[in-house]
Symmetry: C2
Subunit: 224 residues, 2 copies
């Protein structure tokens, strides 16, 4: 044997794979999933189109991995925020605020990950990712119900509806568009979070308090 993968090569290959994924993510951030086409992604990653196929068997695999990666990040952020909260209601509010901040910060990407259909079959991956995030929200709702802060309810449906309300009001086509202004952005995030919390049965007055508390990280992220 006259050729073996050295550590250096392994690192380069890994870096290239990451570069391709990052290029896909950039493309999706700019123009949604429709912009994740092999040729443009290859250009962004500084490789030839054929090279993409040395790292991903097909476009579907590339997009699946992109969705999984973004969702993994999202889930981790939600858990981090919720776990840092003092009680179940605050945890739910923190989780919801985190989702809200994330989706408004990367609207095109969020739209692509969440809803925008693609010509290839990535539904399984997308569904799994979505289920994980909904599951995390549902767990927080369950905790709040157990603590007696929320009425008993169909928590799965509630989690789904809650996410739907956030997504639609923040990244959907009817979402407000002048979100460059940080103050306006914070308002919109707070309002959407308030709506989401009320949907699952948080009392209006209490919800307002939770939102104000939870919005702190939102402000921080928005400023970053």
């Amino acid at each position: 044997m006259v050729y073996r993968r050295t550590h250096q090569v392994v690192k380069r290959l890994a870096a290239r794979r990451s570069a391709i994924l990052a290029a896909a993510r950039d493309a999706a951030s700019d123009g949604g999933m429709a912009a994740v086409q092999i040729a443009p992604v290859a250009v962004r990653a500084n490789v030839a189109a054929g090279t993409v196929y040395r790292y991903f068997p097909s476009k579907a695999d590339l997009i699946s991995e992109l969705i999984a990666e973004v969702s993994r990040d999202e889930l981790a952020a939600i858990r981090r925020a919720a776990d840092a909260a003092p009680g179940p209601s605050s945890a739910l509010a923190a989780a919801v605020t985190t989702v809200a901040v994330h989706v408004v910060s990367h609207r095109k990407l969020a739209w692509g990950i969440l809803a925008e259909p693609v010509d290839v079959d990535v539904n399984a991956t997308r569904l799994a990712s979505r289920r994980e995030i909904a599951g995390e929200i549902e767990a927080r709702i369950v905790a709040a119900v157990r603590a007696g802060h929320l009425p008993a309810q169909d928590t799965a449906l509630a989690a789904t509806a809650l996410l739907g309300a956030l997504h639609e009001s923040l990244v959907g086509p009817l979402a407000p568009d002048n979100l460059d202004d940080p103050a306006k952005l914070r308002d919109v995030v707070q309002t959407a979070t308030l709506l989401a919390l009320r949907a699952v049965g948080v009392m209006d007055a209490r919800a307002r308090g939770l939102v104000v508390q939870a919005a702190l990280p939102a402000k921080m992220l928005a400023g970053a």
Copy 2:
């Protein structure tokens, strides 16, 4: 002049146009917007592919008209239900229930109309239709706020979030799937409606009452 359009011909042309639109609607109901392709639609309508282009300048126009037509029907149904209600809160509940019943009854079609991107540019039409429906819901929210039944709020965002919650929980990928059972279907519609009403600030207890009242037409439609 040796040829003029007789009444008979005019009627035949109109009928054919309707047939093409109906075929498109059927295709969308079966397989979403992706299934609305010229050749299959032409087959369904019993015409040749080329004939479609004698009635619609392009696929985008066909789909735009399909969206407009479906939305028109939807809007009319919402208005009818809301106007028949005794007060602003009931009207809102009736409007929301109507939307819920419609989307669960035609999930693929609703998904196609609402969210599924198509390769052609129909965003303007889709946006306009969506705005109309959101506007109608918003008007009902405004009325309920004026009557003192709901807290003051950003009604535009509230209407959008409300629709998002409904759509996501009823036609989204995480929506429950065993909706063939009418009882289950009614439950889901009621639960989603309850969530939507609570989101805009209807008190839990009151919301439950409104939902039960408004669910009557839902049951009727589901049975039909």
